[in-house]
Amino acid sequence: MMRSAVMVAVLSFCLQACSEKEDVGDGKKLADTVVEPQVSTPDFNAGRNAYFGDLHVHTMYSFDAFIFGTTASPDDAYGFAKGGVVTHPGGFDMQLDVPLDFYAVTDHAFYLGSLRAMADPSTDLSKHEIAEGMSELSDAANRYGHFQKVIAFLRTERSSELLDQQVYKEAWDDIVAAANRHNDPGKFTALIGYEYTASGDQMENLHRNVIFRGDTAPELPFSRIDSSNPERLWEWMDEQREKGLEALAIPHNSNGSNGEMFKLLDFTGNRLNSAYADQRMRNEPLVEITQVKGTSDTHPALSPTDEWADFEIMPYRIATKLDSTVPGSYVREALMNGIELMQKKGFNPFKFGAIGSSDTHNGTYAGDEDNYWSKVGLLDDEPVERGSIPLPEPRKGGELYADSYYRTWSAAGLAGVWADENTRGSIYDAFRRKETFATSGPRIRVRFFAGYGLPKIETKDLISRAYSIGVPMGGDLIADKDREPEFLVWASRDANSAPLQRLQIIKASVRDGKSVEHVFDVACSGGGEVDKATHRCPDNGAKVNLEDCTISDDVGSAELRTIWRDPDYDPSEHALYYMRVLENPICRWSTWDAIRSGVSPREDLHATIQERAWSSPIWISPPEQ
């Protein structure tokens, strides 16, 4: 007994001496600032390069990621994006085959760093009742229990008890410093960002990621503790912009918003007006349409004539098993409502460009279908936990699989941009122009232009002429009653994923006061012809062998491209067009899990998926009267 007393006394004295030294020597606390170079970097290309990145990454500072077992810091996360190795809390190493070009750590601003502090017995936060057990989190069930306990507490009036300004500030400063340290103009863009994690009373998801252009960030983020009303966030962003801190917000998981993300009323229930539309578009030019928690492009119920609408649908409100209502929750419908409002009232609050991202809570961009390392740390790192293989024993009701929503999750999501060079300024300005695209994981590159008199597709300087004659994805074109627009539609495969199957245009226009959608196949693999009546390519016969996930290697195309004209074009209509390209089918991650575990793929999940890319839309509006 006495021995331990002396031991503690001596060690604590030594520790004191140690920690004093550490504070002095910790270079990480110095804020590094990086100045953008005035000259171009070697890869500068006026015809623009495609760059790929992830704008949605959580690290140990996020309250939930910490509970999930994540120890990766912002520094680890940026290092990973550049090609480094991070060890998953489940014990395996994660590394990208091909590093990413840009990355943004976007930790939940509310209670940033708090949970990590609660688990540290030396802090004040660790003494809070809700911190009990936090320093000895164990298995997935225990962690999930704590996650739900913390979420429930954060929704009570007492939630501010878990806010420690010093913890908050230190975590934020560390995130900003890590981004500035890793930013490497010409090679790698590290953006400063955070997640604004607001939701409604019924867990309607209103989350946004806020991404800054420069190397200076506000003293602290604007979080849901400041307000759960996203309009307050936009006001704050407007104020920051006046101070020279340019940022944009990217809403995500509208699929889990229960109709709230794109509803036709403002936060307090008033009808939308042009001031609302201006402010929203000034601050939210982009939307994240695909990520691990499902794809929010569209839903089969909204797009019954789109045979590919049933893609990675995640039907729940976020972090719950409550259904999320479909209308108001999907991007295509919002884009359509936007042009309808434009025609009727002269403003458009839903004029979004598209990106994809992962929303990983491991610090590490999620792998692809054949390399899925989960999103929520120790909660879903085993196939049995994510419901892709049966439990060792059936559950009480006889169900064979774990009772979790992870089965509805997707393996990845990726953001693409067309930018002159890989610098913060150039990449960010592409976000502002909406010259962006989204993919479900593969690095498919898509080019999309609209204009009058575009050159033939085989023209050598096609791209530079398209830029000078037409507008790229994200742009606007004014209709001309004497001429029909042409569309340059071009996709190039990911060299290490499946070949391309078909190139498509999704069109929405306002006809007789109501917006309608059409899906056109515009180029088919293997030289197939689009049927003029159905606007569909012939089946290219691509197959997946569900015994081993091998795919047909003799069908599909490396590139698909065409100059397309809209057969139903009407210059008096408000319209928008975006492109979508589909790969040949491959095994879904859940099928890979099953095959590797030697069991049959689950029957109520899609065994295969068609990976895809979506461009931002081009809007065409009638000339003003």
Binding site: A5, L11, C14, D97, V98, S126, R561
Partner: protein, 259 residues
């Protein structure tokens, strides 16, 4: 004096002191000694917190508080309240970790960093990189025509089919080339010849004639440019080595019973 730098030596030294002190206290139960050591430590803490040295009155109050805390503390230990408490357990383990690392950071280690850098040069090297041009075509029967045109001195840039691929790539690693052209293509890189069109080589896109412009051999970044990074890696490595050695050493003195 190399011996003094060895952490294990330090640990045994600390251990001997601990046992001696422990022995002394064991023979003096219920005795709280306030000596100069305690006073100067309390005074130092006070200085850190307030910026001033404690007045005699302040010091007296600090000592009284310390005695009160010490008595409660010893009583808590006597009652065994430290046992089976995961927070105490974790905290002590954490402190031991700090102690190991602190001992390790003593002294001048330039020589050791240099040696670490030499053993781990692979971590500080750029891979082999290729600068090359390529002519892309999908129809294999075009090969002879292309070769003839190249021999005639036609401009090679005009011979490629349209694609999103570039006609030339500068200084790309195998990893980067894999990302652009696919895995099978990379297998042919070793067969390229500088200044000469080689092919057809198959990629995920189709066929290519490839001319190597320059092969850039692997380069190791000089230590002087990345001293801080190497030093940090070295320290991390040493901490792992020392912690593991210390654990293995301690483990030897315990009998582990798995029931």
């Amino acid at each position: 004096m190399k011996l003094l730098r060895e952490p294990l030596v330090w640990f045994f030294a600390v251990g001997i002191v601990l046992f001696a002190t422990d022995d002394y206290f064991s023979r003096q139960p219920g005795r709280v000694v306030v000596d100069e050591g305690v006073r100067s430590r309390l005074d130092k803490l006070w200085q850190v917190q307030t910026g001033n040295s404690a007045t005699p009155k302040e010091l007296e109050s600090l000592v009284q508080n310390w005695i009160r805390e010490e008595v409660f503390y010893r009583e808590a230990l006597r009652m065994g309240l430290d046992r089976d408490d995961s927070i105490v357990r974790r905290r002590l383990v954490q402190k031991l970790g700090f102690l190991i690392e602190e001992v390790e950071e003593e002294g001048d280690q330039a020589q050791a960093v240099q040696e670490y850098y030499q053993v781990n040069t692979a971590d500080y090297s750029l891979p082999v990189r290729y600068s090359f041009s390529q002519i892309f075509f999908t129809d294999g029967s075009r090969l002879v025509e292309l070769q003839t045109k190249l021999e005639q001195g036609d401009d090679w840039r005009g011979l490629s089919e349209t694609s999103m691929l570039n006609s030339s790539y500068a200084s790309r690693s195998e990893k980067e080339i894999t990302a652009i052209f696919g895995r099978p293509f990379v297998g042919y890189l070793h067969s390229l010849v500088q200044g000469k069109w080689v092919g057809p080589i198959k990629s995920s896109f189709g066929l290519h004639l490839v001319r190597l412009e320059r092969l850039i051999p692997t380069e190791t970044t000089p230590l002087a440019y990345i001293e801080k990074r190497v030093y940090a890696d070295y320290l991390q490595h040493r901490r792992e080595v020392v912690t593991e050695a210390f654990y293995q050493d301690l483990l030897g003195s315990y009998e582990i019973v798995l029931e």
